[in-house]
């Protein structure tokens, strides 16, 4: 079975803290994505990676960075968390063809 695993389901962080969200996929997929999902706004792409050490900005990269040191792992970093980054974060992966995209279960982040 296809598996995209997000290490933390629920996190509560303080404003200004550095936050790491980890994602691992076991399908040997080339492409990996980070989205955030907010009520009324749908899914918004933060960053995208199509290969190890490669990354591209999505629609809302401000305040975020990413790291992809290994093919199976894609990390989202909030350098200095702010309350407007309270959201559900979704990691996804797809093969190079992009024909199917699989999502993780999501990470609920609350910044207080």
């Amino acid at each position: 079975d296809v598996k995209v695993t997000q290490s933390s389901r629920y996190l509560v962080k303080r404003t200004g803290e550095k936050v790491f969200l980890e994602c691992v996929q076991d399908m040997d997929h080339e492409n990996m994505f980070w989205y955030r999902q907010d009520p009324g706004l749908g899914l918004r792409l933060i960053y995208f990676s199509y290969d190890v050490k490669m990354k591209e900005k999505g629609d809302i990269p401000e305040g975020y960075s990413v790291s992809r040191e290994k093919k199976e792992r894609f990390s989202l970093i909030l350098e200095s968390a702010s309350t407007n980054q309270t959201s559900m974060y979704l990691c996804a992966s797809s093969p190079r063809t992009g024909n199917t995209i699989y999502f993780g279960e999501g990470s609920w982040l609350t910044v207080v």
Binding site: V2, V4, N31, F33, G40, L41, G42, L43, L45, F48, Y50, G58, M88, L90, A92, S94, R96, T97, G98, N99, T100, I101, Y102, F103, G104, E105, G106, W108
Partner: protein, 113 residues
Amino acid sequence: EDQVTQSPEALRLQEGESSSLNCSYTVSGLRGLFWYRQDPGKGPEFLFTLYSAGEEKEKERLKATLTKKESFLHITAPKPEDSATYLCAVRPFVSGGSYIPTFGRGTSLIVHP
């Protein structure tokens, strides 16, 4: 700019009452259209990929169809466990290859027993 519009935003059905969800899209060229189911508090679950007009795919009570401008997700005799948000996404053809889909905002389906 690629656009995906899903309608209705919300739909309430009685158990057994068949209906359809719509996903209309505007893209420069379609490389694939995806349907997902999302339960509250969880990540989207992949249902189907459609590639060309006229294509149909089925899974249990769900059938997805595709035309050149829109896709329908038909739900036949729905049950309460079909209650979820259904998301549609398109992947456009981009020279050089782009694998970034554009998502619609979803249709929230509630099926009452």
